[in-house]
Symmetry: D3
Subunit: 132 residues, 6 copies
């Protein structure tokens, strides 16, 4: 019953907990990953069960949030993607996927909730997908 979760990727444990708590209090089901490998493994297990992606950019020594975003969109072209970052925000114009939201640190948690709600609300406006 892990369907329709928000996949949350962040390598700093405290920020991850903050984000997870905030999203869950707002009513979202959350699956956490601490690096790109775990995130992609979870995503690939059931791409249609992931409702949205919220990801940090720098994730230790592995792949970055930019790569997770592209990976998710390749399988699910209309999945909402939200990037959260401090120093990588300026790369968003070159590395982000179309229609994504870049939230710059320091941010207020309600900004994530609003971005997520807004992108999810735009989803049904897209025509039905053959693989969703």
């Amino acid at each position: 019953m892990n369907q329709n979760v928000v996949l949350l990727v962040e390598d700093e444990a405290l920020i991850l907990l903050d984000l997870q708590t905030s999203l869950e209090e707002a009513g979202f089901a959350v699956v956490c990953a601490k690096n790109a490998e775990d995130a992609i493994t979870h995503f690939d297990r059931d791409p249609t069960g992931v409702k949205a992606l919220v990801t940090d950019i720098r994730l230790g020594s592995g792949a970055s949030g930019w790569e997770i975003g592209r990976h998710a969109r390749q399988a699910m072209p209309s999945i909402p993607v939200i990037y959260v970052s401090g120093d990588s925000a300026s790369d968003w114009h070159a590395q982000g996927v179309p229609g994504s939201v870049m939230i710059q640190k320091p941010f207020v948690l309600v900004q994530i909730i609003t971005a997520l709600s807004t992108l999810l609300n735009e989803q049904p406006a897209l025509p039905p997908l053959d693989n969703a």
Copy 2:
């Protein structure tokens, strides 16, 4: 003093209560209707007193949410309209009114609040109406 209410239409009592509670906690005044007939009767009594419409699509044996949306827009061309549905979301492209938001079940309550706030915030950007 029922001015400026959100008209909420839903035939399942539990979902209706959930939505009403959530909207009221967010600060909105809510008037509930369980079918299209009640919704339209309330609306027609004072169209300018209804600030926004949030409606389910399937409403038992009577008219559907699509018809309530068109009815409300005929009298109030710029009223925010939010549809909430499970299986009827794919009909939105053909049956929804322009500028409306379609929220697909299962959804998180904050999505309704965000959609409502966003559409209400866009209202003053419209020129003053002669009949409002």
Copy 3:
């Protein structure tokens, strides 16, 4: 080879000719219909071969442009729809389909070309359809 045409519906012969000429000079292939019945017959023969719909609202004694718009969207949820009208423009908020463009008479022909180009350019931004 009638694939990827703009379906143009207008009951006044002179306006129809003007629109057709203007669209063809801009490079679009055009199929004309003088009433809703002909338009829907053409559309139903090959819905995926119609790239966009440009329709007048009042079309003699038959169905109106609003109905053609809904009919086309039911089969092709993301097809661009452009309405052209004089006195029916104010009904667009209640009768138009989401994401459509309403062009009010008197208009300049380049407005149609711009609307059509803009809506077609937004198409690939939508995820691939299973039936297109």
Copy 4:
């Protein structure tokens, strides 16, 4: 019969002629003004007869294009406003009106046509005005 014209304001005669020719070739009716005083005089004579405003910013010793924009919007809240400028473009964020377009010199004439068509096409999406 000067209804539904584009009011074009530019103090450099050659640029004015270029713009006027380009707009007329695209099918628009144009009324020209060489300074803010003439522009406002024309506008005030029949505000509902002016379909859109295209204005340079610096206009000799009189009022600027920013002031014409605000003046026009005070009477006609939804009138399309397009500013054309070289060195004043950076002031647009502080001095422009909401929903206006700023076109920076050097520009290509088709940019003006596209901006004008796009803003005019968005007009019927606004609810009917009491004074239009």
Copy 5:
């Protein structure tokens, strides 16, 4: 450490307190001003430390919220600006800055939070200001 605050301008003490409490509960740091003079003094001390402006329109005998908006945008072209007003909302089309949000009284506090979050989320979409 007053960096990244929301500058809140409102001359009615009770409304100011309501807004301040609501913004702080949502996680924003707030600096309050009761008139335009105080607002501009605070802003000019450290323009880059102000993250967003939320302002009433009528502010006693001094300058109005329209003037504060233009002042802030002149120094910080992309700062989010939110106006809150009862009777001045219809002037927004002529007096507001581009991309601003006008929230009409009576409003629900969550509308302010949503507008603020949405505008802040759009910020990183703008190109970096220092290295280009």
Copy 6:
């Protein structure tokens, strides 16, 4: 005098000529490249002199249009990017840059002109890059 050109990248000579002619007739100055290497060499010589990028996706054996888009945005975060493609359009959601336009073949030349004009008109809406 190569300032403010549109950089056009296409490996099929006939399509390149068509696009170039169409853009020049519309008034744009064009620099052509037949592969990614040439495109990037031209771009890097004077990034601020390139006004916009129009690129095919598949470009023979070298890098693709997706890479040219990212390269251009890394140096010029707000440069308009338009992709033109037949079979690669569905990858746009994963490989395109934010705010870009994907035009699917077969297309009509006016779609390119409209996309280019629209993106250029949105440019001054971005804050100035040098004085902030």
